[in-house]
């Protein structure tokens, strides 16, 4: 919708047209049906299978920057250049409950086809650029994987364990010779373990552990000299990985003594209890001790963080 000046770019990011629209004028219109289909079959009380197909469209796009140096993400709307993202997903799952629904197990496989994906072209110029659409490329993507999930629903100890093995890839004609490459958020392994244990009538302790393969990033694959300065040489986009992410959080809750009119509780938490230094960014720089060497330095944000919460309700 106008008002405004709308530029049109071809696939080589060359400006092919520009038109000014008045307030209320429609620039483009997208109409996409989103069909959904799902079916389930119960073998008996405890076992079932489910199958589903979904088509979703998305008009707000996240363009993400996979630099190891500083992540700047940007949200853009669909426009005359940016078409709505379309995803088609098929999934097949097996579900099992046992021991009076105390245990729950599921396994699911999925395949997702993505159309109209967007990313920055190589060497995009963003600073003071009012027309970011001139810096974009368009392609498609695919994602597939297996999810396993086990849950104990009640009892003195309860919690769940989840594991996902997956692959998420994009393809752009202008990047990596048009081959599929890992999306930034591609996470080969993803593990989460949650345990909650009731310790007597007032104390509850809990622990959460998460582990995931690091983001796909572009690391330098060599270096060269240019104008007297050591310069990094980059290979294929997103060909490397950040170190794996993992974190253990611990918590303990103390319920207040039962009272007629109000209820209170103390919660003590310890975020990142193992004080693992998960990297936020990684920079490659000359080693200050030996200028002829290059070293990698990571910056991590949160170490161990304790917290105390007091809840009071009446």
């Amino acid at each position: 919708m106008g008002p405004g000046n709308f530029n049109t770019y071809n696939s080589n990011n060359v400006l092919t047209g520009s038109r000014t629209y008045q307030s209320g004028d429609v620039v483009t219109r997208y109409l996409n049906p989103e069909p959904r289909f799902s079916a389930s079959y119960m073998f008996n009380d405890q076992n079932s299978v489910k199958a589903s197909y979904n088509r979703n469209t998305q008009n707000i796009h996240l363009i993400s920057n996979s630099t190891a140096a500083s992540p700047t993400d940007l949200y853009v709307m669909s426009s005359n250049n940016i078409k709505p993202g379309i995803s088609d997903q098929v999934a097949l799952g097996f579900f099992k409950n046992s021991a009076n629904n105390q245990y729950e197990f599921s396994s699911e496989i999925y395949y997702k086809k993505l159309q109209n994906q967007i990313d920055y072209k190589n060497g995009a110029q963003l600073l003071a650029n009012q027309d970011v659409e001139s810096q974009l490329i368009y392609g498609d993507g695919r994602a597939y994987g297996v999810e396993l999930f086990f849950k104990k629903r009640y009892g003195k100890l309860n919690g769940w364990v989840g594991y996902t093995l997956s692959k998420t890839e994009n393809r752009f004609n202008q990047v990596n010779n048009g081959q599929y490459f890992a999306a930034k958020h591609d996470r080969t392994h993803d593990v989460s373990v949650v345990g909650i244990y009731k310790l007597g009538s007032r104390w509850t302790i809990s622990g959460t552990f998460v582990y995931g393969t690091g983001n796909a990033v572009t690391y330098p694959q060599g270096k060269y000299i240019l104008g007297g300065v050591t310069t990094l040489y980059y290979g294929n986009r997103n060909a490397d990985r950040m170190p794996a992410y993992s974190r253990l959080d611990l918590g303990a809750t103390l319920e207040g003594k039962p009272h007629k009119r109000f209820h209170s509780s103390w919660t003590f938490g310890l975020y990142n209890a193992l004080n693992r230094k998960n990297p936020y960014t990684i920079n490659f720089e000359d080693d200050p001790n030996d200028k002829t060497r290059t070293r990698a330095a990571k910056t991590s944000l949160f170490g161990r963080i304790p917290s105390v919460t007091y809840n009071f309700s009446f």
């Binding site: 920057n65 996979s66 630099t67 140096a69 500083s70 700047t72 920055y120 190589n122 060497g123 995009a124 110029q125 963003l126 600073l127 003071a128 810096q135 572009t218 690391y219 330098p220 694959q221 060599g222 270096k223 060269y224 000299i225 240019l226 104008g227 300065v229 050591t230 310069t231 990094l232 040489y233 980059y234 290979g235 986009r237 997103n238 060909a239 490397d240 170190p243 310890l270 004080n275 230094k277 990297p279 990684i282 490659f284 000359d286 200028k291 002829t292 060497r293 290059t294 070293r295 990698a296 330095a297 990571k298 910056t299 991590s300 949160f302 170490g303 161990r304 963080i305 304790p306 105390v308």
Partner: protein, 265 residues
């Protein structure tokens, strides 16, 4: 009461544990690419031999010594058809006989190596002169940050691109400053060259070179500066060279050059 004391102590101890240094050196060894050819060619508006350097890239874990590439046939041709063949006077360093590069003249570089020819063209822009140099001094608490300011009059009738090169006591500053006149066309420009590579101290001798570069060379250096981090940087990639193929790194630049010196007071 006693219990609460211990609790507070515990909280203080845990909190101080959490505020620890958060930058550390790690061991990462990305895959090493095969060595890439790097060509760096310049023609400047000063009488003298014009120089082209050819080297190869090395792996990230190697020492930063870059092997020169010998045996290339290197030719410079201007738009009037005058061709000069460069001679390899040191390994990987090819220089021409003495001549003066001129503004508004297109130069073409041809490098032939192992049966392949790499060609790049650059037009030397009109020269814009430095008006004056000043020093910007900023204080944050006890620390002082000194940066060079360059003043110049941007011509209003054309698109201009500039590159500034600093060296302090003969040591090159690693930061590259590529600027254009997108927002300053025709203005009297005050350009502060912020850098944190070499801290300027009293008595330092700073050499400032101002180059007027063409659009292709500007795109090259601008993308280059984007790789060095910063909040608006994009996915790292090699800067777009101005050669006829992307199978080579580097650039060919015909540019004007003007030097000024100051001693930091």
């Amino acid at each position: 009461m006693c219990m609460r004391k211990y609790l507070i102590l515990l909280i203080v101890v845990l909190f101080s544990l959490s505020i620890s240094a958060c930058k550390e050196v790690i061991d990462i060894n990305p895959a090493s690419a095969t060595p890439q050819l790097v060509i760096e060619g310049k023609v400047i508006d000063q009488t003298g031999p014009q120089v082209v350097t050819i080297t190869k890239s090395v792996g990230l874990s190697n020492s930063s010594t870059f092997p020169p590439v010998s045996g290339a046939v290197v030719k410079l041709t201007d738009q009037y058809g005058l061709m000069r063949t460069l001679v390899e006077r040191a390994p990987g360093v090819y220089s021409s006989t003495s001549f003066l590069g001129r503004s508004n003249v297109a130069y073409t570089l041809n490098v032939t190596l192992a049966g392949k020819t790499y060609t790049a063209k650059s037009i030397m822009p009109e020269k814009v002169l430095i008006d004056s140099i000043a020093l910007s001094v900023q204080r944050f608490g006890n620390s002082t940050s000194k940066n060079i300011i360059v003043f110049y009059q941007d011509p209003g009738n054309q698109a201009n691109q500039y590159k500034f090169v600093l060296s302090v006591n003969g040591v090159l500053v690693k930061d590259v400053f590529a600027r254009n006149d997108q927002f300053t066309n025709g203005r009297f420009v005050q350009q502060t060259l912020y850098q944190d590579d070499i801290k300027l101290e009293s008595g330092d001798r700073v050499d400032i070179e101002m180059q007027c570069i063409d659009k292709g060379v500007y795109d090259y250096w601008y993308t280059y500066t984007q790789q060095r981090g910063g909040f608006n940087s994009t996915t790292p990639t090699n800067p777009p060279n101005n050669f006829n193929t992307d199978q080579v790194l580097g650039y060919f630049s015909a540019h004007t050059s003007q030097h000024k010196n100051i001693i930091i007071p």
